[in-house]
C-alpha cells in the first residue's frame, strides 16, 4: 500500500521530455540572471518575484483549462478586475472581510456563468463571446469605479497579499494550492478526463456519452474561480481595485500557457508545464527590470519569446513528421534490386 502511494507521488512529479527541456531553460536562465543581473538573488527580489508570480500564474491556470477544451477566455482579466472591484466596494462600505470575499466570489461566478451558459448552451465560438463579455465586464467595472480606483480596506486584509508563512508569501501558497487543485481536478476526476477528451474531439466525446455541456460550464466556472483568487491577491497587494489591474496578464498568461506546452488547438496541457512557463516569464521580467531595460522593450521581448516558442514547437513537429514519413516510405517501398 505504502509503495503505490509513493509511486503515485512520483508519477505526479515526473516530467515529460518537453517539460524537462523547459525546466532546463528555467534553470539556465535562473543561473544566468543570478550571475549577471544585479541583486537578482537578493531576498527582496526573490520575495517580490514570489509575490508577483501568483497573479499571472492563477490567470494562466484558468486560461489553461479553457485552452485544453480548444476554447479561449479573453474576458478573464476583466472578470478578475470586476471581482476585485466587488471586493473593494464591499470592503470600503464596511463589510466584514469574509462577506466581502464572498461578494467577490459571487461576482466572479456570475460572470463565469454568463460565459459558460452562452458558450455551452448555444455553441457560440468562445473567442467572440468572450470578446463581447470582456467589453461588457470592462464597462460594468468602469461604471462602478467611474474610471478611478477604490481603496480604504481594513488593515487585516493586506495580510493576504503581504503576509508570509515562514519565508513563503501567502500569495505563493494560494497559487501552489490552486496548482495542486487544478492538477488533481484535471488528472484524477472524471470531469478532468472529459476536459481533455472534449478538446481532442468534441463530436466523439458527445457520442461516447460525455455530458459536453455540463463539463464546459464547469470549465468556465473553474477559470472564473482562478480569476477570483487572482483578484483577491491583486486587491490586497495594491491595496485598491481598478479596472485595468491585471489587464496585461491576458497576453502573458496565454503566452505562459503555450510556452508550458498546452496545445492552443486543445486536447493537451499540463499544470507542471504551465507553472514552469509562468516561472520563466516571471524571472525574465524581473531580470529585465533589474537590468533596467525599458518596460516597452520587455513587451517586445515577451512577444518575441511567444513567437519563438511557437517556431521551435513547429520545427520539432516538422522533424517528427519527417521521421515518420521516412519510416513509412521505407516500409512501403520494396527494396530496389540492382
Amino acid at each position: 500500500m505504502k509503495r503505490t502511494a509513493l509511486n503515485l507521488k512520483w508519477n505526479a512529479l515526473k516530467l515529460s521530455g518537453y517539460e524537462t527541456i523547459l525546466l532546463g531553460v528555467f534553470v539556465i536562465l535562473f543561473v544566468l540572471f543570478s550571475l549577471t543581473a544585479p541583486n537578482f538573488l537578493s531576498p527582496v527580489n526573490l520575495q517580490s518575484m514570489m509575490v508577483q508570480m501568483p497573479e499571472m500564474g492563477l490567470i494562466a491556470l484558468g486560461l489553461m483549462v479553457v485552452v485544453i477544451t480548444a476554447g479561449i477566455d479573453l474576458s478573464i482579466t476583466y472578470l478578475a478586475a470586476l471581482s476585485g472591484i466587488a471586493i473593494a466596494w464591499a470592503l470600503s462600505h464596511g463589510w466584514p472581510i469574509p462577506l466581502a470575499l464572498a461578494a467577490g466570489a459571487v461576482t466572479a461566478m456570475l460572470c463565469g456563468a454568463f460565459n459558460a451558459l452562452l458558450i455551452a448552451g448555444t455553441g457560440v465560438p468562445p473567442i467572440v463571446l468572450t470578446l463581447g463579455s470582456m467589453i461588457l465586464f470592462e464597462g460594468i467595472a468602469l461604471r462602478v469605479t467611474r474610471g478611478g480606483s477604490i481603496s480604504g480596506f481594513p488593515e487585516s486584509y493586506y495580510l493576504i497579499g503581504g503576509g508570509e508563512l515562514g519565508p513563503i508569501p501567502v500569495p505563493m501558497l494560494i497559487f501552489a494550492a490552486a496548482a495542486v487543485l487544478t492538477a488533481v481536478m484535471l488528472n484524477r476526476t472524471a470531469w478532468g478526463r472529459s476536459v481533455f477528451m472534449i478538446g481532442n474531439n468534441p463530436t466523439a466525446s458527445r457520442f461516447s456519452g460525455i455530458p459536453v455541456k455540463s463539463v464546459l460550464i464547469r470549465v468556465y466556472l473553474f477559470s472564473a474561480l482562478m480569476a477570483f483568487l487572482a483578484a483577491v491577491i491583486m486587491t490586497s497587494r495594491y491595496n485598491s481595485a481598478k479596472v485595468d489591474y491585471g489587464s496585461s496578464y491576458l497576453m502573458q498568461g496565454l503566452a505562459a500557457v503555450v510556452l508550458g506546452g498546452t496545445s492552443i488547438s486543445g486536447g493537451s496541457g499540463t499544470v507542471k508545464g504551465t507553472v514552469i512557463g509562468v516561472a520563466i516569464f516571471q524571472i525574465l521580467s524581473s531580470a529585465l527590470n533589474l537590468y533596467s531595460i525599458s518596460p516597452h522593450i520587455v513587451d517586445v521581448l515577451m512577444g518575441a519569446i511567444l513567437i519563438f516558442v511557437l517556431l521551435v514547437d513547429y520545427v520539432i513537429k516538422l522533424r517528427k513528421r519527417m521521421v515518420r514519413v521516412k519510416a513509412t516510405d521505407a516500409a512501403v517501398k520494396p527494396p530496389v534490386s540492382a
Binding site: 452562452l118 473567442i127 461588457l136 492552443i264 521581448l301 517556431l311
Partner: protein, 323 residues
C-alpha cells in the same frame, strides 16, 4: 425583397430603425454636420473593419491591427517631422509600412501554421512595445502645415476628403472579393480549407495575401487617422482591435470563416457608430457605452449561431426527405 431577407438586410433594418429612432429623439442627430462628423470619426474603423472582414472570412483573426495602425502613425509622423510632407511619398510610406507589418503576421500564420490569435497576440505585443519605446508615449504635434491643409480638404458638398478613402477601399475590396481570383480563393479557403487546397488553391499564399492586405489597410488607416487628428498619439489605438472585430461580427461575418461581405461590415460599422453617437447625444455617461456594446456583441453572436443552427436543421430535413 430578397435583400431584406438576406443577413445584410436584417442588419440594414436594425440600422434604419436606430436611425429613425435617433432622429426623433434628438434634433441634433439629423443635422448635416453631425452626420458628417459621425462618418468622419468612423472612417478609420471602417477601413480596418474591411480588412478584418477578409481575415475573418478565411477563419483567421488579427488582434494586432490597432498596434499596426499606431506603429504606422508614428512612422509617418516621425517621417513628416524630419523630412517634410509630400502626398505620394507619405502615402506610399504608410502603405508600405503597414503591408510589411501585415506580411510578418502573414508569414507566421501561413508558414508556421499556428493559430492566428496566438501569432497576432505576439506581434501585438512587439509592435506596440516598439511604438511605445520609440516615442516614449509622447505625442508628435508639429506636423507640416501642408499635411494639415490636406486633411482639411472638403469635396464639393462639404464632404471631408477622408471619406473618399473609405469609399474607394470599400468599392475595391468588394470588387476584389466578388470578381477577382484571389477574392474567390478567400471564400473557398474559409468555406473549407482542405477542399480549397485540393482544388489547387495555395492556402499559404491566400493567407499571406489576406494578412498583408490587412496590414496595407492599417497603413492607409494610419494615414487617414493622422490627417483627421493632425497629431500622433501613440496610445490612440490601444484596444481598438476589439471594436474592429466587433464591427465585422455585427456585420454578419461568421467568426468561424466562410462568410462575410464588405456591405455587411459597413453596416456593422454604422451600427456601432450610431449606437455610440446616439448614446453621446443622449448624454449617457461613457461608462455605459461599453456595457451596451458588449451586450450587443454577445447578443448578436448568440442570435447568429442559433439562426445558423435552425437553417442547418432544415437542411438535414431536406436530406432525409430526398433519400
Amino acid at each position: 425583397m430578397r435583400f431584406l431577407k438576406s443577413k445584410e438586410g436584417g442588419i440594414f433594418l436594425i440600422v434604419l430603425l436606430l436611425f429613425i429612432v435617433l432622429s426623433f429623439l434628438n434634433p441634433v442627430f439629423l443635422t448635416f454636420d453631425n452626420l458628417i462628423d459621425v462618418v468622419q470619426t468612423n472612417v478609420v474603423l471602417g477601413i480596418l473593419a474591411i480588412g478584418m472582414t477578409l481575415v475573418i472570412i478565411i477563419g483567421g483573426i488579427d488582434v494586432s491591427v490597432g498596434a499596426m495602425t499606431a506603429a504606422v502613425t508614428v512612422l509617418i509622423g516621425k517621417f513628416m517631422v524630419g523630412f517634410g510632407y509630400s502626398l505620394p511619398v507619405v502615402l506610399l510610406l504608410a502603405a508600405a509600412g503597414g503591408t510589411l507589418l501585415g506580411a510578418i503576421n502573414g508569414f507566421l500564420v501561413s508558414r508556421i501554421k499556428v493559430q492566428a490569435i496566438v501569432v497576432t497576440l505576439g506581434t501585438l505585443s512587439i509592435y506596440s512595445g516598439l511604438t511605445m519605446y520609440v516615442t516614449g508615449g509622447v505625442w508628435i504635434n508639429n506636423l507640416p502645415q501642408s499635411f494639415i491643409d490636406f486633411g482639411r480638404i472638403r469635396l464639393p458638398g462639404g464632404i471631408p476628403i477622408q471619406i473618399v478613402f473609405l469609399v474607394l477601399i470599400a468599392l475595391f475590396t468588394a470588387y476584389l472579393l466578388k470578381y477577382l481570383r484571389i477574392g474567390r480563393s478567400v471564400y473557398a479557403l474559409g468555406g473549407n480549407m482542405r477542399s480549397a487546397e485540393r482544388a489547387g488553391i495555395s492556402v499559404a499564399r491566400v493567407q499571406m495575401f489576406v494578412y498583408s492586405y490587412m496590414g496595407f489597410l492599417a497603413g492607409i488607416a494610419a494615414f487617414v487617422h493622422t490627417s483627421i487628428y493632425r497629431q500622433v498619439d501613440p496610445n490612440a489605438f490601444n484596444g481598438f482591435e476589439l471594436q474592429v472585430i466587433a464591427a465585422v461580427v455585427l456585420g454578419g461575418a461568421n467568426i468561424l470563416g466562410g462568410s462575410g461581405r464588405v456591405s455587411g461590415t459597413l453596416l456593422g460599422v454604422a451600427l456601432l457608430a450610431l449606437i455610440g453617437n446616439g448614446l453621446t447625444l443622449a448624454h449617457v455617461p461613457s461608462f455605459w457605452h461599453k456595457v451596451i456594446i458588449g451586450s450587443f456583441i454577445a447578443a448578436a453572436v448568440v442570435f447568429d449561431v442559433l439562426q445558423r443552427r435552425r437553417i442547418e436543421k432544415q437542411l438535414v430535413k431536406i436530406d432525409v426527405l430526398q433519400s
